[in-house]
């Protein structure tokens, strides 16, 4: 009772606001719950099973396979599932005593990329699955994972280049970063799909997915570079000078002294860039790749299921939201933990 008085009705204005908010909730929640759960249909196989007036989750459940795997051949899907297990391995690695070494991480990620490419694409004993058949959530995750794994190192290099004492290197990096940050991702993808073929010798053709991956990576690495630069600038000059004083060369100075401190400072920023990247993966549908949203969009246009667009979008939104919200919560927790350790040391 006390809590109510202190937090909801402590002044006339607040009481009014509380009542207005309750009214808003009353208007929104009951119909929403009714639509999504109470009146919804869950079982069946065609639109004829959706007659109760609520949400038709039958549509989503029937198409779930496509939403998750795209057109990946049914009997080969175990390969995708294997790749999806990989994060577990990384968690094991993170818990082990060797986690501190950046070299181990790089080796693990490199190995993972090779194995995952082999598993997903095939060859060497496995039947080849063309990337045109990749789709759904699986494609979203592939674009996001490759984008993250490639844009971080590239971004670090660009940030170092921007701080470099060599004017040419600095100018090139600044121009590169400002260019990619100044244009929308969609024009980058357009460029990757219409201009890249013009830039290469005749006869050399690129996979569409690979072109999109290059576009996404270059674009996000520019944003990553700016985040890392923030960290580099926050490291006191003394650290740079001390590292030079003990006779370390440029790469060891950066790799052993500056970067470990700088990256730790900007982990939240890096995760935020990852979240933005994850949301940006949806744009690949504009150049004709079928990621999760692309699959949903295609399923909605299917005459057998006309009129269930809301259900499709809500499902896709829920999936994206879970990933992004999870990442942002993780970054907040990490931030809190890092804050704590630095305070303890001071």
């Amino acid at each position: 009772m006390n809590w109510l008085r202190n937090n909801l009705f402590n002044s006339p204005l607040n009481s009014l606001l509380t009542l207005a908010s309750l009214g808003l909730l009353w208007l929104l929640l009951p119909p929403l719950v009714g639509w999504a759960l109470v009146d919804a249909d869950f079982h069946g196989s065609s639109r004829a099973d959706c007659g109760s007036g609520g949400a038709c989750w039958v549509f989503v459940i029937n198409r779930l396979d496509q939403f998750l795997y795209g057109l990946y051949p049914l009997e080969q899907r175990w390969r995708v599932n294997c790749v999806l297990l990989a994060p577990l391995l990384f968690i094991v690695l993170a818990r082990s005593r060797r986690a501190g070494r950046i070299r181990n991480w790089a080796a693990a990620i490199g190995l993972f990329i090779v194995v995952a490419t082999w598993l997903l694409h095939g060859g060497w004993g496995l039947p080849v699955v063309e990337t045109t058949r990749w789709g759904g959530l699986m494609l979203t995750l592939v674009v996001a994972a490759v984008g993250m794994a490639c844009s971080l190192p590239l971004g670090i290099l660009l940030a170092l280049g921007r701080q470099s004492e060599l004017p040419v290197v600095r100018a090139v990096c600044v121009a590169f970063i400002e260019f990619w940050r100044g244009v929308p991702l969609i024009t980058v993808l357009f460029m990757a799909s219409v201009m890249l073929p013009l830039f290469l010798p005749e006869g050399v053709s690129f996979d569409k997915l690979l072109r999109a991956l290059i576009g996404v990576t270059l674009f996000e690495s520019a944003y990553m570079a700016e985040v890392v630069r923030g960290g580099l600038q926050a490291i006191p000059r003394g650290q740079y000078e001390a590292a030079a004083a003990i006779g370390l060369g440029y790469w060891r100075r950066m790799g052993l002294v500056v970067l470990p401190q700088a990256l730790r400072l900007v982990i939240p920023g890096i995760v935020n860039t990852f979240i933005a990247l994850f949301k940006d993966t949806t744009l690949v549908l504009i150049i004709g790749l079928f990621d999760l949203l692309g699959m949903v969009q295609a399923a909605i246009a299917d005459p057998a299921w006309l009129g269930y667009s809301v259900e499709g979008y809500v499902f896709a939104a829920a999936v994206f939201w879970l990933f992004c919200f999870g990442m942002s919560r993780y970054s907040q927790a990490l931030e809190a933990r890092l804050d704590q350790t630095t305070h303890e040391r001071n």
Binding site: N14, S21, G182, I186, P201, T282, Y313
Partner: protein, 371 residues
């Protein structure tokens, strides 16, 4: 090291240029911007300046650019308004209000913009009734699948006097403001400024409007056959884009506003109250100016993001720069390099000039250290 960088860049550039020239030649595409003056041959559903199928590609470019600016301007205004309200609501002492605002932010910023855009366009606006079953408000505003129809103000004879009255009102309000300021500097007494100025600005033109026999009337949209004619129409593509962009960006603006207000030390509020400033005044004279210093740089970058994100319109065929120019024009002419370069150039110029402005502002408003 530097020589190596320059050399490898040069090699890469010549290699790419050589490949491109060879490719263009083999496809029979002439390079250059000459195509801009040839006839476009396609229509655009929304244009602010005169445009039809016989206009040139260059004119289509301008139309598309203006459409980008229109949607960005409306989006920025709405996103700022909603964002500030939500951001302040998140700091409310009212538990429920703060939670609702927090929920808004978490929902809208964690769902991809393109998905939100599709939702508004395909799931909401495409399901509106047909023109004959329009939702109407007092028979003057109509909403249907073809768009939102608003009455259009039509200026009649003598509208010039109203504009003149508005000018005079603006000038006198300015004078009043300065006088009040001087009075306060001299005597310390505060004079009312807001209400008298509002009265002048709204009252004088209204008075002239009535006295002049109302040289302004409205043209209402009318149902003729299967569609409405007349009035101002807001096409559904624009509405969906504005809804999605402003709802999405507002979530980010809200976070920026919250961080800005939190960044002002509590002591500042207490000091302002100790000086005897009322709550509203201490907010306006002490808190907000300091918060703005923190708010404005990230806010501008959000505005820039909004302008860049407006290019997602290509996915729902709102006729802005990317969909008209990098879409239709590119397909018709095949001038990939020129078209993409021009499109990217526009965005690049926009963002570089705004960030230059930002840097200038930053240096201008930076806390001056002592000594």
């Amino acid at each position: 090291m530097q020589l190596a960088v320059v050399a490898s860049l040069l090699v890469a550039v010549t290699w790419i240029a050589g490949n491109t020239a060879a490719n263009l030649e083999s496809r029979g595409i002439a390079s250059g911007f000459g195509f801009l003056s040839s006839e476009s041959g396609f229509g655009i559903i929304q244009s602010l300046i005169a445009y039809d199928e016989s206009s040139s590609y260059g004119r289509a470019f301008v139309v598309a650019l203006l459409n980008t600016l229109v949607v960005s301007a409306i989006g920025i205004l709405l996103a700022t308004g909603v964002g500030f309200v939500i951001g302040i609501a998140r700091l409310s002492s009212n538990w429920l209000v703060a939670r609702l605002a927090g929920g808004y932010v978490e929902v809208f910023r964690n769902i991809p913009l393109l998905l939100q855009l599709f939702f508004w366009y395909f799931a909401v606006l495409r399901n509106l009734p047909s023109p004959r079953q329009s939702i109407s408000v007092m028979d003057s505003v109509f909403l249907n699948i073809r768009g939102l129809y608003l009455p259009r103000p039509v200026a009649g004879e003598g509208i010039g006097w109203v504009w003149l009255a508005l000018l005079i009102a603006m000038a006198s309000a300015g004078v009043w403001w300065r006088l009040a300021r001087r009075h306060q500097d001299a005597t310390g007494e505060r004079r009312a400024v807001f209400w008298p100025c509002l009265a002048m600005l709204a009252g004088l033109p209204a008075l002239v409007l009535v006295l002049g026999g109302a040289p302004l009337h409205f043209e209402f949209a009318e149902l003729r056959g299967f569609n409405f004619v007349g009035g101002i129409v807001l096409i559904p593509e624009l509405a969906a884009l504005v809804l999605a962009l402003s709802a999405y960006t507002a979530a980010f603006v809200a976070e920026i506003v919250r961080a800005g207000i939190l960044s002002v030390d509590r002591g500042q509020t207490e000091a302002a109250r100790a000086l005897g400033l009322r709550r509203g005044l201490s907010l306006r004279l002490v808190i907000i100016p300091q918060a703005m210093r923190v708010i404005i740089p990230p806010l501008t970058s959000q505005y820039l993001n909004l302008v860049k994100n407006s290019s997602l319109a290509a996915a729902i065929a709102y006729p802005e720069l990317v969909s008209v120019f990098a879409g239709t024009v590119l397909n018709q002419t095949g001038q990939a390099i020129e078209v993409i370069a021009l499109t990217m150039g526009v965005y690049l110029v926009l963002s570089l000039s705004i960030s230059a402005l930002m840097n200038w502002y930053n240096q201008h408003s930076m806390l001056r250290g002592r000594g």
